[in-house]
Amino acid sequence: MANIISDETIEYIGILAKLELSDEDKEAAKSDMGRMLDYIDKLNELDTDGVEPMSHIFPIHNVFREDTVTNNDDHVNILRNAPEQKDGAFKVPKTVE
């Protein structure tokens, strides 16, 4: 396997993706990711010089809305699925500035 994923990398990705893995899962994750990246490395065989990265499949541009208020007060619905709420707001652990 050409791509060896380190513990640091898995921890770093864990911070980016807000995932924490058990030690055992970490080993599996390192090995899985390594294999997937080995496979993805196959793309390096392909000569893509001069090819524009295609982020949008069709040349659709300029999809706009008019600046008109059409939404009303929907706070009851918006909060309906909240795991925790208080005074009409979503409640979360204290955030540090």
Partner: protein, 478 residues
């Protein structure tokens, strides 16, 4: 001998645009409202929701870019900036990194050494985050998404500024332009304009830039100036002691007049920007750019010149009046109503400016109606009230936008110009001050002034000074 240092400053200014709806959904952008009452599935990141771009946001961004001499990128995209924070409902912010809508512009500011050009690296559109309220009682934070999705433009300058003064000049110029375009009201205190300061120091003459820090939470021009002084000092001290400056983000505390590093280890600052697949690119035609250019309203310089010509007021006065769009709007409207530009100008430049200073407010915060000022001016003209009383009324108009006629009536402030009543009072005062009469007859003009003053006092300032003067003189000459 300690070395000479140069401070290098760049600014990232976020401006809340004055659109009626948010950038990607049709919720209102109105300030205030109970928590989460201006929200929908899109701006709260509900699964399956999708963004649709508000055209007015693009127009404002273009207008600001053109007024700031930028090149408009005719092919522009949105990118996702990925990071986790509760005020960010999708845990990504839709912004522009790779192809922002404007780039390579500049503004000119006046410095002691003359006109200086400050470069603008780019301007891009993005969405604002919600608000976090800290609940001390429950030791938690509460999230309100009313502000989530409000459209912002971010104006990133080149690191061309060298002092707090230059920074303030740049911000004032920027603010004026944006206000004049109607793109935003740019109120620092209300957060519709926010400035982050990027600052580094280097030895004078050095070619490379030093390590820079970013400072946030600067809520007034004074705070910005203080923060710059403080950070400059802090970095220089570090370097003098042989240390190196750490690149970090710092939060300014204006009460303590110091800053603190903000980052925690839970935040990698790796935003993994990639083009947002739910939004399509923006293609701006030459025609569209021309149309926006044409719609550009009169900007500050033109207005300044026009005021001198049209209203025949001195350049200095015109400069102050056009120094704030709000002030200029009030000036013009009041002039339209009462046709007395010199009077209006006087009132604004003297009394109103004084009141602003006293209340520590900016001209943008003026909230009285031109109609009331026009009425006030008329009432003075017609001698309904005298100037002294008028100042009191002006203060009331400034604070509460009270109708001057109603106020004068309620407070009984109308000038007393009933000759008979006045004569009676003056006769009493003369009788009570025989020495003054003797002094006056002996040639001391001052004595008459004393009698007039006493009369005014007795009349609680409501008498018409001219009339009092005339009657006193008449009675004394008998």
């Amino acid at each position: 001998m300690s070395k000479q240092y140069e401070t290098v400053i760049g600014l990232e200014v976020h401006v809340e645009l004055a659109t009626k709806t948010k950038i990607f959904c049709s919720c209102t952008t109105r300030f205030g409202g109970a928590p989460n009452t201006h929200t929908c599935p899109v701006c709260t990141g509900m699964p399956g929701s999708m963004p649709v771009l508000n055209k007015q946001v693009v127009e404002y961004a273009m207008a600001v870019g053109l007024a700031a001499n930028c090149h408009i990128n005719q092919f522009s995209k949105f990118d996702r900036k990925n990071y986790f924070y509760p005020d960010n409902p999708q845990n990504y912010q839709i912004s522009q990194l790779y192809l922002p809508i404007c780039r390579d512009g500049w503004l000119e500011i006046e410095t002691e050494k003359g006109i200086k050009r400050i470069g603008i690296h780019e301007i891009h559109m993005e969405e604002d985050a919600g608000k976090l309220i800290h609940d001390e009682w429950d030791d938690c934070s509460l999230v309100d998404y009313n502000r989530s999705g409000v459209p912002l433009i971010e104006i990133v300058s080149e690191p061309d500024m060298r002092s707090a003064k230059e920074v303030i000049a740049y911000l004032e110029k920027l603010r004026l332009i944006i206000q004049y375009l109607g793109a935003s009201d740019c109120k620092l205190q209300e957060g519709s304009m926010r400035a982050d300061v990027n600052l580094s120091v280097r030895e004078a003459g050095a070619a490379r830039f030093g390590t820079r820090t970013e400072m946030k939470n600067l809520n007034s021009f004074k705070a910005i100036a203080r923060a710059i002084e403080s950070e400059q000092k802090r970095q220089i001290e570090f370097l003098e002691e042989g240390g190196t400056v750490t690149q970090e983000t710092r939060r300014w505390d204006d009460n303590k007049e110091t800053s603190y590093p903000m980052r925690s280890k839970e935040d990698a600052q790796d935003y993994r920007y990639f083009p947002d697949p739910d939004l399509v690119p923006i293609c701006i035609s030459d025609e569209w750019i021309s149309a926006v250019k044409e719609r550009q309203p009169e900007l500050r310089t033109e207005k300044l010149n026009r005021y001198q010509e049209e209203f025949q007021i001195p350049r200095y006065d015109a400069q102050i009046l056009t120094g704030s769009k709000r002030m200029a709007d009030i000036f013009e409207e009041t002039c339209r109503l009462c046709q007395k530009p010199k009077e209006v100008s006087n009132w604004l430049m003297v009394e109103v400016m004084r009141l602003l200073k006293e209340h520590e407010q900016e001209p943008e915060q003026l909230s009285f109606s031109p109609g009331h000022l026009a009425k006030l001016i008329q009432m003075v003209e017609e001698h309904v009230i005298n100037r002294t009383v008028a100042k009191t009324v002006m203060e009331e108009i400034f604070k509460n936008d009270t109708d001057p006629e109603a106020f004068v009536e309620a407070q009984g402030l109308a000038v007393i110009n009933d000759e008979g009543e006045l004569k009676k009072t003056i006769e009493e005062i003369i009788a009570a001050n025989p020495q003054s009469v003797i002094d006056y007859k002996a040639g001391k003009e001052k004595a008459m002034g004393f009698l007039v003053g006493q009369t005014m006092r007795k009349m609680k300032g409501k008498a018409d000074p001219a009339m009092v003067n005339a009657i006193v003189r008449e009675l004394l000459s008998r």
